[in-house]
C-alpha cells in the first residue's frame, strides 16, 4: 500500500486506499438508507390511515367531522361529540394539572429540604412512566365508586346552581374521566417543569435576593420568567398526552356518543369512540373510524410539534429526556 495521508479529523482522504473510501461511502450510504427508511415508515403511517379514511370522505364529504349526530345505523357519523369530549376531558385535566403541577414543581425545586429533592424528583419521574392502563383500572375500580357515592352528590349540592352538575350520579362521565387524565399527566407536568425550574442558574436567584427580594418575588420575577418557555413546553407535552389517551378514558367515560350537557353526563372521546366501535364496524362506518383516527393524528402531530419546538430549549439533556411523552 502506498503512503496514507490522513487529513483532518475525518481521516477520509487516505491516498491510495481506494477500497477504504468506497467502504466509507457504503457505510454512510447504508446509514442514510436506514434513516430514509425511518422517514418512509412515518410517511407510510400517515398515508395508510389517509387511504383507509378516504372512502368516508368521498362518501360523506368533509362536514361530517363537525356534525352532532353519531348514529352508525343510519349512516350518521357526526364526530363533534367525540371531538368535544376529547377537548373537554383534556381541558379538565389541564385546568387541574397546571396550577397543581406547577406548584408542586416549585416546591420540589425550591421549597423542600435539599436532601429530599433527588429522591422525590426521581419518584415523580418514575410515576410518569407508569402505564396509562393502570390509571384506567384504578379510576374504574377504585375511584368511580367513591365518585358516585361521595364526590358527585357533594359537587351537585355545592355547585348545583351552575347547571354543570345536572343529571344522575352514574359514577362515570366527563368529570371523572377528566380527573383520571389529570392524575395521569400530573407526573409528566411536574417532572418536566421541575427540571426546567431547577436549572435556573443559582446566580440569578442570588442576584435577586441580594437586591432585597422576598422568596416569592425571586421565584416569580426571576425563576418562573427564566423557565417560562420550558414550562409552556411541559404544558404542551402533557396536553398532547391527554388528548391522545385511550384506555384510561375509555374505561370511565361511559361512551355515549352524545354531546355532554353536564360534567356528570357520559360522553365520548375520539380514541374511546374508535376503540369501542372498531370491532363491529364495516364499510363506511369503519372508514369513518379511520377518519376519526386521522383527525386525532393531525391533532397529535400539531400539538407535539409545538411542544417539541418549545421543549428544545430546556436543559433536560441525556437519554432520559426522550422517553417522556
Amino acid at each position: 500500500m502506498t503512503t496514507a495521508t490522513v487529513t483532518g479529523t475525518g481521516g477520509r482522504r487516505v491516498a491510495g486506499r481506494r477500497r477504504s473510501v468506497l467502504s466509507d461511502r457504503a457505510y454512510r450510504g447504508g446509514l442514510a438508507a436506514c434513516v430514509l427508511l425511518f422517514v418512509a415508515l412515518v410517511g407510510w403511517f400517515v398515508v395508510a390511515i389517509v387511504i383507509q379514511a378516504r372512502p368516508a370522505f368521498s362518501t360523506l364529504g368533509f362536514s361530517w367531522i363537525f356534525q352532532k349526530t353519531w348514529d352508525p345505523t343510519h349512516n350518521h357519523f357526526g364526530l363533534l361529540p367525540a371531538i368535544l369530549g376529547t377537548l373537554e376531558t383534556t381541558a379538565i385535566a389541564m385546568v387541574l394539572a397546571v396550577p397543581i403541577g406547577l406548584g408542586t414543581a416549585l416546591s420540589l425545586a425550591y421549597l423542600i429540604p435539599v436532601r429530599l429533592r433527588p429522591p422525590l424528583s426521581t419518584a415523580v419521574e418514575l410515576l410518569a412512566a407508569v402505564p396509562s392502563v393502570v390509571y384506567g383500572l384504578w379510576g374504574l375500580i377504585a375511584l368511580a365508586p367513591i365518585w358516585r357515592s361521595t364526590v358527585e352528590p357533594f359537587l351537585s349540592s355545592v355547585l348545583g346552581w351552575t347547571s354543570l352538575f345536572n343529571g344522575p350520579n352514574s359514577g362515570n362521565g366527563l368529570l371523572l374521566a377528566g380527573c383520571i387524565l389529570f392524575v395521569m399527566v400530573l407526573p409528566t407536568m411536574v417532572a418536566i417543569s421541575r427540571d426546567v425550574l431547577a436549572v435556573v442558574p443559582v446566580e440569578q436567584v442570588e442576584g435577586a435576593m441580594a437586591l432585597g427580594a422576598t422568596r416569592w418575588q425571586t421565584l416569580r420575577k426571576v425563576v418562573l420568567r427564566d423557565a417560562r418557555t420550558g414550562i409552556l413546553g411541559a404544558f404542551t407535552l402533557a396536553t398532547g398526552r391527554a388528548l391522545g389517551e385511550t384506555v384510561a378514558v375509555a374505561l370511565v367515560i361511559g361512551n355515549s356518543p352524545y354531546l355532554a350537557h353536564s360534567l356528570k353526563s357520559t360522553a365520548v372521546t375520539i380514541p374511546a369512540l374508535i376503540v369501542n366501535s372498531f370491532g363491529e364496524a364495516t364499510g363506511t362506518f369503519r372508514s369513518a373510524l379511520f377518519g376519526a383516527a386521522l383527525v386525532l393524528l393531525v391533532i397529535g402531530m400539531v400539538v407535539n410539534s409545538v411542544a417539541r419546538l418549545l421543549v428544545r430549549r430546556t436543559a433536560r439533556t441525556g437519554v432520559a429526556s426522550v422517553a417522556v411523552a
Binding site: Y27, I49, A129, P131, V133, T214, G300, V319, V322
Partner: protein, 304 residues
C-alpha cells in the same frame, strides 16, 4: 450612621436612600405576607398532588399482591369461576412481543442514531424533529397503523402485528437515545481509530459503538419500559387469547391487554387478575426504569 458631609439634608443620594428605605419598610409587611401565602399555595399543591399519586400506587399494591400466587404466574387464563387461573399466557405474549419489537428496533434505531450523531445537516435536523414528535403520538393511531399494515395484509391478528406497532413506538426513542449516547463518546476516541487508518464502518463498529453501549442500553431499557406498557396499540393487533402461544404469527395475549379487558368484567375473580397484572406491569416498568438510571449513573461515574 452619620457622615460629616456638610450638606446632608440636600444630598440627592441620601434623599434617594431615604426614599428607598421608607418604601422598603412600608411594603415589607405586604411583601412578606404575599410571599408566605404564595409559598403556602405551593406546599398545598404538593400535598394535593401527593394524594392521588400515592393512592394509585397503594391501590395497585394492596389489590394486586393478593393476586400474586404461583398459579398466577404459571397458569394461563381460565374461564370465570374456575379456580387457579393465571396470566402466564399474557406474560409469554408480552415477552414475545417485546423480544420481537426490541430485536427489530434496536439495530434499526442504532443505525439511525449513528447517522444522526455524525450529521449536522438539515436532513438530520428534520429527522430528529420527526423522531421527537413521534415519541408523543397517540398510541391508538400507532395501533391502527399496525392493523392496516399487518393485520389487513396478512388477514389475521398476530403477535407480529403487535410487535410492529410497539416497534413503531419504540423506534424514535431508541434512535434519539442512541444518538445522544453516541454523541457522548469523546471525539478523541474515534479520532484515535481514524489515525490508525481504520475505515469509518470499522471505527463505528469496533470503537464508537462499544463505548456508547451503556448509554444505548440505558435508552433501550427505557424504550422497552414504554413499549411493553402500551395498551392501545395491542387492542388492534393481537386480539388476545386464552391459550399459551409462543408463535408470533398467531394471536396472543399480553399483560396490559389482560388489565384492560378484565377490568370492566363483572366478575371479581377477573378483576383481581387485572390488579395482579397491573402490579406486575408497574413492577416491570419500575425495574426497567430504575435499572436504566443505575446504568446511567454508573456511566457518569466511569466517565468522570
Amino acid at each position: 450612621m452619620s457622615t460629616l458631609v456638610l450638606d446632608a439634608s440636600t444630598d440627592p443620594i441620601l434623599e434617594r436612600r431615604r426614599r428607598v428605605q421608607s418604601a422598603a419598610t412600608a411594603s415589607l409587611a405586604r411583601r412578606k405576607l404575599a410571599s408566605r401565602v404564595a409559598l403556602g399555595v405551593c406546599w398545598l399543591a404538593l400535598a394535593i398532588a401527593v394524594v392521588p399519586l400515592v393512592a394509585v400506587i397503594a391501590y395497585v399494591v394492596t389489590k394486586g399482591l393478593p393476586a400474586w400466587s404461583s398459579d398466577f404466574f404459571v397458569h394461563s387464563t381460565v374461564p370465570e369461576g374456575v379456580p387457579g387461573g393465571g396470566i402466564f399466557n399474557a406474560i409469554a405474549g408480552t415477552l414475545v412481543i417485546g423480544a420481537v419489537a426490541t430485536g427489530a428496533t434496536v439495530p434499526f434505531g442504532v443505525a439511525c442514531g449513528l447517522f444522526l450523531a455524525e450529521s449536522e445537516g438539515r436532513l438530520a435536523a428534520a429527522v430528529r424533529f420527526v423522531a421527537d414528535v413521534m415519541t408523543g403520538m397517540p398510541s391508538i393511531t400507532v395501533g391502527i397503523f399496525g392493523y392496516i399494515a399487518i393485520v389487513l395484509t396478512t388477514g389475521s391478528y398476530s403477535g407480529l402485528a403487535g410487535a410492529f406497532a410497539i416497534g413503531i413506538i419504540m423506534l424514535p426513542i431508541v434512535t434519539r437515545a442512541a444518538e445522544t449516547a453516541i454523541r457522548g463518546v469523546p471525539v478523541t476516541v474515534s479520532e484515535a481509530g481514524f489515525a490508525l487508518g481504520a475505515r469509518r464502518s470499522t471505527v463505528a463498529r469496533r470503537v464508537v459503538l462499544p463505548t456508547a453501549l451503556p448509554g444505548v442500553i440505558t435508552g433501550v431499557l427505557l424504550a422497552i419500559a414504554r413499549g411493553v406498557g402500551e395498551t392501545a396499540p395491542l387492542l388492534f393487533t393481537i386480539f388476545g387469547s386464552q391459550y399459551l402461544e409462543w408463535n408470533p404469527t398467531q394471536p396472543m395475549d399480553a399483560i396490559p391487554f389482560v388489565v384492560y379487558t378484565n377490568s370492566s368484567q363483572p366478575y371479581p375473580d377477573l378483576v383481581q387478575i387485572a390488579w395482579g397484572a397491573a402490579l406486575l406491569l408497574v413492577a416491570a416498568v419500575l425495574v426497567l426504569n430504575i435499572g436504566s438510571r443505575l446504568l446511567a449513573a454508573w456511566l457518569r461515574r466511569e466517565r468522570a
